[in-house]
């Protein structure tokens, strides 16, 4: 059967692509659109490394079919920095050494941004539970949580 022709918006750009039914949004992002910042750690929704925003909702792109995103709004890690300016979360992750190997980092950043957009002043508890779907094996989460709290302070100041 013919591939699906999908028109959508990715990081504000209008995009067209072709995909098979069984291809996930993650497959499309990585293999078709060459946006490899979203990572595949498990392909089962258990690690969060493929986190993206879909119409303003945080989702695992490995659990969305490519053909579902027609006419919708996809935001990935590649769209997080604006021009030369890093997002405050990106900046704080660097300053707090909140990454070691870095494979989980895009997913954590996308998920953290979604949190701070809804909850500008989260507690440590809220951060930890919101990010429970993002696995990190290197850091023990300590510096990630600190970076998110610090970024929240920055963002509240505007």
């Amino acid at each position: 059967m013919a591939k699906h022709h999908i028109e959508t918006t990715v990081n504000g750009d209008e995009i067209e692509f072709l995909c098979e039914t069984e291809e996930t949004l993650l497959d499309v992002l990585r293999d078709t659109l060459h946006l490899t910042g979203s990572k595949e750690g498990c392909a089962s929704g258990d690690c969060g490394a493929c986190s993206v925003m879909l119409d303003g909702r945080l989702v695992c792109s490995c659990l969305v079919l490519g053909c579902e995103v027609g006419g919708r709004r996809v935001e990935t890690i590649e769209g997080m920095a604006k021009g030369e300016k890093l997002h405050p979360l990106q900046q704080r992750f660097l300053e707090h050494a909140a990454l070691q190997c870095g494979i989980c980092t895009p997913g954590f950043l996308v998920a953290s941004k979604a949190l701070l957009e809804r909850t500008p002043d989260p507690t440590e508890h809220e951060i930890r539970y919101w990010l429970a779907g993002n696995l990190c094996r290197c850091t023990g989460y300590d510096k990630i949580v600190s970076a998110v709290m610090d970024a929240a302070v920055t963002m509240r100041k505007g």
Binding site: K39, C42, D46, L94, E95, T105, Y129, R137
Partner: protein, 762 residues
């Protein structure tokens, strides 16, 4: 920024918290990891894996798969020449090529569920998947054995009929699953027990656990018609990958160029080859690039976890608390091929302590599980968990504070370690003191809460290392290292280079070079990369400084003793200082062409003198007596870093290792069914700690300088996973009064133990 002195050099950057140079790429999604590389015309490679834990492979018919349109190559055991039996170093462990060739592709038998049996390269994922279903493998299913104790029985299913236990005299006449017996002895352990007022003996059991890196193994190979081979892969050691692939595929080392991608975690698990030789073999056959990426299920089923084990510990102490004898017997699972980390387990068991009489025996045992790979301080967490549990029990029996008891028996400078050497300055006492000084140590606890302490030891290693520094035309510096950067290596090396050369940190740009760009490098493992790499950088910088001084002498017509390099400049000394203006590195760069050509240094060393790193961990936890659930409330790590080049990344090592240890202690395990198949090959049921499972991990940097390193550095990466198992078991005892001897201390086990004692009520 505060300046400190070390190595006769003022330090602006070492010891500070710089921004890592590879950081921006990693927070923007730009960094390229193993699966992020692609080449024009690439094929997708997939592996057919054994569904049986133990089976003879009678035949493999690939004809139908090869005939499927879109399939460009199929490989099996026939594509790999057999290898002779020869042991080679792999991380801190040894491996045998005869086994390696069989592990990457099953030959006579499939020895574990998930063992590779064939591989295909096709034009799409869908075609590759279909092709795998068309390969017809005839198996003769054999009885399997999973448990280490069962595998040691004389009537156990035998994995290798040519495996005779090494290390016993006389050599056994019958093959068995016991590959090796090792032993270390110090003093006379029996005489030691005679002097003991208290003796505690216990048996412990630990489950195999996986390294759990978030990035699955990935490789992209391209072999041209003339045999030139390029490989991009996620590995802890691309020079090692090159060596293994050359050997397994009969290629000259110089024909293979391996580029290490950014690596998404390894923890020891990416020190061996799995996909890499298959991708090259497929590409060689198809004459097109072949990309292979493991699924998470494949990672669990076919890449190395670490050993599960049983350990018996017997310790004796006088009533004053002096340890007088330590005995242990360790039985470690190796997986399907010999080579468990039992040797380092044996050597580390009593290493934190000064004990006159020690005897530790270890067995390396094969069973129908994936071959183990190194995992952060391989072998040590298991044996030290058992010893630290018994130390705690002795403290309780003698009514001595557990920190004081450890302090009284701590290994220190001059202690003769049971594993051989006389120890240099090490930080055991300092970490104990640091923990005792914390508020945490004296914080109040409630009912069902408990506090536990444990220490841990790891050797650390040095080894062969090459690194270069190049001064560019504008005075900026390019740094090239050859050990993959897994957690901040480039930052650390750039800081050392900046301080050595007296240039700003942001003028040093570090990269990880490919195997064609530098001399041999041993892998990133053994906590060696920052230790050895910084020594190689110091050497390279020294060459540059010597060269610049020589050029200054020519330019200024001075003698070598009339100039010096200091503060990033070459200056004339004495009277000459009045006449010539000091020249900075940038000044030399401008006139490089006229003064002798390009400026650079190249450190090629075999780093020695890696000092052990000792750590002590403190944990508070709470047990829900009605469900057996354990909550970690508070956690503090104190560890000797020698000298922390980048304190944040050193703390990160402490915190990450502690949380991996928490997972090992409480929930992580390989769960097998009676059918010998792994039941939890995914992140859903292989339960690694998530963010909400753990508290903040307080990290205390203890710095007892390593005299063998120019900056005093010790490796720090591995020790942090050693103490958590014992610390948590000790805290469990404090909370419940029950000594747990089996890991993981998962809720069903904890509740059962509480129920048996009638304690399962609030």
């Amino acid at each position: 920024m505060a300046e400190t002195m070390a190595n006769g050099q003022s330090q602006t950057y070492v010891g500070t918290r710089t921004i890592r140079p590879d950081g921006v790429d990693k927070v923007t999604g730009r960094a390229r990891f193993g699966a992020d590389f692609n080449l024009p015309g690439q094929l997708i490679g997939r592996v057919l894996r054994s569904p049986h834990p133990h089976a003879r492979i009678l035949s493999i018919d690939t004809a139908k798969a090869e005939a499927l349109p879109g399939v460009k190559a199929v490989i099996t055991r026939d594509d790999f020449a057999d290898q002779s039996s020869e042991f080679i170093p792999a991380g801190e462990m040894m491996m045998n090529y005869k086994d390696v060739v069989r592990n990457v592709m099953a030959r006579e038998k499939a020895l574990y569920e998930g063992h590779a049996v064939a591989a295909v390269a096709a034009t799409s994922v869908a075609i590759a998947r279909r092709a795998l279903k068309l390969i017809d493998v005839k198996y003769e299913v054999l009885p399997h054995v999973i448990d280490v104790v069962e595998a040691m029985r004389p009537d156990a299913p035998l994995l290798h009929d040519d495996l005779f236990t090494a290390g016993v005299e006389p050599k056994p006449e019958q093959p068995s699953n016991i590959a090796k017996r090792v032993e270390i002895v110090l003093g006379d352990v029996e005489a030691g027990f005679q002097k003991a007022d208290v003796i505690v003996e216990r048996e412990f059991k630990t489950a195999p656990v996986h390294q759990g890196y978030i990035e699955p193994h990935a490789a992209l190979a391209s072999v041209s018609e003339d045999g030139a081979t390029e490989l991009w892969c996620s590995t802890q050691g691309h020079f090692i990958v090159r060596a293994h692939c050359a050997r397994l595929l009969g290629l000259d080392i110089g024909r293979i160029r391996v580029t290490a991608s950014e690596i998404g975690g390894g923890f020891g698990g990416k020190t061996v080859v799995y996909l890499e030789p298959l991708a090259i073999a497929l590409s060689r056959k198809a004459k097109r690039p072949v990309k292979m990426v493991m699924s998470r299920e494949e990672v669990f089923k076919a890449s190395g976890p670490t050993s599960g084990a049983t350990v018996r510990v017997k310790m004796g102490a006088t009533k004053e608390g002096k340890f007088v004898a330590g005995f242990a017997e360790l039985k470690y699972q190796a997986g399907a091929f010999q080579g468990s980390p039992v040797q380092p387990g044996v050597m580390c068991a009593y290493a934190p302590y000064d004990i006159e009489n020690v005897k530790v025996i270890g067995y390396d045992v094969v069973s129908n599980r994936p071959k183990v790979a190194a995992y952060r301080a391989p072998g040590a967490p298991i044996s030290e968990f058992a010893v630290e549990s018994v130390v705690d029990e002795i403290a309780k029996k003698l009514d001595i504070d557990p920190i004081d008891l450890r302090m009284q028996n701590a290994a220190r400078e001059g202690t003769k370690a049971a594993y051989g050497p006389k120890l240099g300055p090490i930080g055991m006492e300092e970490t104990l003191n640091a923990i005792k000084k914390t508020e945490h140590w004296n914080a109040p606890l409630r009912k069902w809460q408990g506090r536990g302490v444990a220490s841990g030891f790891w050797f650390n290693i040095g080894g062969e290392t090459s690194a270069s520094l190049t001064v560019n035309e504008d005075g900026t510096v390019s740094l090239m290292a050859g050990t993959p950067d897994i957690g901040g290596l480039r930052a650390s090396l750039a800081m050392v280079a900046a301080d050595e050369l007296g240039v700003p940190y942001d003028k040093v740009r570090p990269i990880i070079g490919d195997t064609g760009s530098l001399g041999f490098n041993f892998l990133t493992g053994g906590s060696r990369s920052a230790f050895s790499g910084s020594m190689a950088i110091v050497e390279a910088a020294k060459q540059i400084k010597t060269e610049l001084c020589a050029r200054a002498c020519k330019l200024w017509d001075l003698k070598p003793d009339q100039v010096e390099f200091a503060g990033g400049q070459v200056k004339a000394l004495g009277a000459a200082a009045e006449k010539v203006k000091p020249m900075s590195i940038a000044d030399f760069a401008k006139v490089a062409g006229k003064t002798g050509g390009p400026i650079g240094g190249y450190g090629r060393i075999n780093a020695q003198g890696a000092g052990p790193s000792l750590g002590t961990h403190l944990v508070d936890l709470e047990v829900d007596p009605e469900t057996g659930r354990v909550t970690i409330l508070k956690y503090t790590v104190a560890q000797d870093a020698g000298r922390a080049i980048h304190p944040s990344y050193v703390e990160g090592q402490f915190q990450g290792g502690a949380v991996q240890g928490i997972g090992w202690a409480l929930n992580e395990e390989y769960i097998y069914g009676a059918d010998g198949k792994l039941q939890n090959a995914g992140f859903l049921d292989y339960r690694m700690p998530v963010a909400s499972d753990v508290p903040m991990i307080d990290a205390i940097l203890v710095e007892v300088a390593n005299p063998k390193h120019p900056y005093g550095v010790r490796g720090v990466g591995e020790t942090p996973i050693v103490p958590p198992l014992g610390a948590i078991a000790n805290a469990m005892e404090a909370a419940t009064g029950i000594r747990f001897t089996e890991l993981p201390m998962s809720p069903p086990k904890v509740l059962k133990a509480l129920k048996e004692r009638g304690l399962n009520k609030v």
